[in-house]
């Protein structure tokens, strides 16, 4: 006669211990879902989601203009300094 498998005979909850208890508690009392008002509030606090448009296409960042002027300006000054 085969003896009972000690592993199979161990209750699942007993093998998991505290983890099983935490899972059981979470299932019994899930965190409250955020209200619609809260979700709308989050969205309002975020940056405007305006899509990229024509304005973005024709407005170069100031940093680009500055870097360009710096390079070309330096070149012009070099030429002007030549004897």
């Amino acid at each position: 006669m085969a003896s009972a498998d000690p592993v199979e005979s161990t209750p699942l909850e007993a093998s998991l211990g505290p983890t099983a208890n935490a899972v059981a508690q979470a299932v019994a009392s899930p965190p409250a879902a955020p209200s619609t008002a809260a979700l709308v509030g989050d969205a309002a606090g975020a940056r405007s989601p305006a899509p990229l448009g024509a304005t973005d296409l024709i407005q170069a960042p100031a940093s680009v203009k500055a870097a360009t002027d710096d390079f070309f300006g330096g070149l012009v000054r070099r030429v002007e300094r030549r004897p």
Binding site: L52, A54, D56, L57, I58, A60, K65, A67, T68, F72
Partner: protein
């Protein structure tokens, strides 16, 4: 001899793909073409079967180096190459702007041997992308058909305007080429926005997205040789024809 600089500050905009593909398409029509790889990553160099060299445009600018030492042959018939090299990135006491000046001088020293020079630039706003604007005749802006690619176009246009005002009165925007265009509503909307902002500067011809263009550099061949009858090869031939027309040329590429 005309010089065309391929420029876009945004990475992944198909600058190298467009440089290599257009060079091969121009050469197919019988033009003598030189590609200058100013991107230290050397992608054009690798794609065209070249190799990084310690002799580059920076060294050439100082004199004492023959053109034959500078220029390499490529896997594209009729296309020569000045490869990327370590001197594109200054080391020691050299400043980036000194390197930029050397590039301008190097471009000015090139002999009037080629019909077209195409300059591939890195995706940054710096001396390697700005120096060619001092010596170039035209600028072509490849743009990926993707919303995030749009602002980069404005940056290049601003740089061209500033170059024309300050250092090179003849430089002009030859065209904006929409690349990696797929059959999505988004791609169509991006192209519509480009046309709304830049009008006729946007070429009629666009370049479709295809795996063939991703495979071609692995075999170090331009698309016109790797997959000569593919849609992308035909697209780039059509783009080359449109650009030649805009430059006042009469050649057609088929």
């Amino acid at each position: 001899m005309r010089t065309i600089t391929l420029s876009n500050n945004k990475g992944g905009s198909a600058k190298t793909t467009t440089t290599v593909s257009l060079a091969a398409a121009f050469a197919e029509s019988g033009l003598r073409v030189l590609v200058i790889d100013l991107d230290p990553q050397g992608s054009s160099t690798s794609w065209l079967g070249g190799h990084e060299s310690s002799v580059g445009l920076v060294e050439f600018s100082g004199g004492g180096i023959r053109v034959a030492e500078l220029v390499q042959s490529t896997t594209a018939r009729g296309v020569d190459l000045i490869p990327a090299g370590p001197s594109l990135v200054p080391s020691g006491e050299g400043s980036p702007n000194d390197t930029g000046v050397a590039i301008v001088r190097g471009l000015a020293r090139l002999p009037d041997y080629w019909d077209l020079i195409l300059v591939d630039t890195p995706p940054t706003v710096g001396y390697l992308s700005l120096a060619p604007l001092v010596a170039t005749d035209h600028v072509v802006i490849p743009v990926e058909a993707h919303a995030l690619a749009l602002p980069g176009t404005a940056s290049v246009v601003a740089s061209i305007q500033r170059a024309r005002e300050q250092v090179n009165t003849r430089v002009e925007l030859l065209g904006i080429v929409a690349c990696r265009v797929n059959a999505t509503v988004h791609a169509r909307e991006v192209i519509d926005q480009l046309r709304a902002a830049f009008g006729s500067a946007v070429l009629e011809q666009t370049v479709r997205e295809t795996i063939r263009l991703a495979e071609a550099p692995a075999l170090r061949m331009p698309i016109t040789r790797y997959a000569p009858w593919s849609g992308a090869a035909q697209d780039y031939r059509a783009v080359a024809s449109e650009l030649l027309t805009r430059m006042g040329g009469t050649a057609t590429i088929s």
